[in-house]
Symmetry: C2
Subunit: 236 residues, 2 copies
Amino acid sequence: MSSNSESLVGAVTELLAYPLFHDLKHDEVQSLCDGGQIRVLSHREVLFRHGEPANFFGVVVGGAFKLSRLAQNGDDTVIHFCSPGDVLAALVMPQPRALYPLTAHAMGPSRAIMIRREVYLQKWLANPGLIARMQSLLSMRMSRLQGQKVMQRAPLSAKVAALLLQLVCKDKSGEEMSVPLPLTRKEIADSLGVTVESVIRVMSDWGKKGLVVTSDQSIRILQPDRLIQQVDGEEG
Amino acid sequence: MSSNSESLVGAVTELLAYPLFHDLKHDEVQSLCDGGQIRVLSHREVLFRHGEPANFFGVVVGGAFKLSRLAQNGDDTVIHFCSPGDVLAALVMPQPRALYPLTAHAMGPSRAIMIRREVYLQKWLANPGLIARMQSLLSMRMSRLQGQKVMQRAPLSAKVAALLLQLVCKDKSGEEMSVPLPLTRKEIADSLGVTVESVIRVMSDWGKKGLVVTSDQSIRILQPDRLIQQVDGEEG
DNA sequence: CGTAGCCTTGAAGGTGATCAATGTTTGTGG
DNA sequence: CCACAAACATTGATCACCTTCAAGGCTACG
């Protein structure tokens, strides 16, 4: 139940599969993970907490994490959902006495490699190709945040639709696809800054119309085109 | 009136003053700006536009810029306000066929150094110390975005107060301070995703109570402590 | 078997949006 | 210097959307 740590023998090979490490050799990745350790978490466990000293950054290698912060009224706001291949808290590493800017909760059983701050400063920053790919990753995350900000004035249904469509791998529009995270209505609400009840009303409406189905904690989108119409503000 | 470009003889020396280039020598900065050019814009002119091919990134050296995107309903959303020393569009440089992710409008007379994409890839990325400081900059920008997202459920007055307090250099709380940008109500509204009218109602209320004054296009905060109370949700 | 987390539904109420009209400031050209 | 246009600021009335509050059901897990 509690977080466990193992050696990262096999994990390094997993990393090679992610675009971030694409043109690197096994030894090079090994060196980039120097002194790191794997952490295995179960559902709702905390990888790191907002405000703690940030001596490690992370690479997700399994499951998913939600990055969130508490508002002063008590309920937390989800900033980002992380999938395997994503990097956590790397941006704050350069700061001398860095604190984690967010709290990271595991969504379902998850794993992450935690790597020392010094290794980032000495080895990661010295590798221009790696930094370039990391900046692309950050650029996409930034882009998502901005995309959500643009939707602020849109009706709630548009926001929920946009979020769901952001989360599915948008390969083939027109076909059925499913959200690759165990996502609760509360988490959707916390991510959009609205109440659970409102999200439920929107989504149960879609359920009746056959737009989406929630089965087994997994959200499947049956008619992506009609969801996209919701984003664009048309009536469905 | 239209955007002008000069050589950047003197501008390089200006750069040395910003934290980003703090430990660099004049020649090094010169090399980092290789082939760059200075652009001088007047109020409301566009430095670059969302969707254009991004072959240059920028460093602000005077005035201010607002980074915004159009929503599908037509009005634009302000993502960020840039002051001198800030870097523009650097994150997308690593991508092969990068497009500008936002539109940059000058707020009042402003200047920026525009530097070729290749120079970023070859010289900037190869300088670990520089990249580290750039990531700190980005980290702060990210932090602002997140801070605003956390405020989403708060009442409008709290959001406006938080924005104003973010923009002033928060040195001495308790004393009078003023926003260092020519900021209109519309821009505040576009930044928060609300309507102009709502912002006006909040701020004119504060004006009557002596919390803030708008004179000469400049917003001065007379009683910062009471503004902070607004953020925390207390009645004023 | 009981608790905890999640989902659902309904009724009432408030906050901010919308629409419309008008005043104010800034900048431009004759 | 004045006239005019454009951008910005302001105020009021009405209304929709989302929140809040309350109550209950479902499933998982110790």
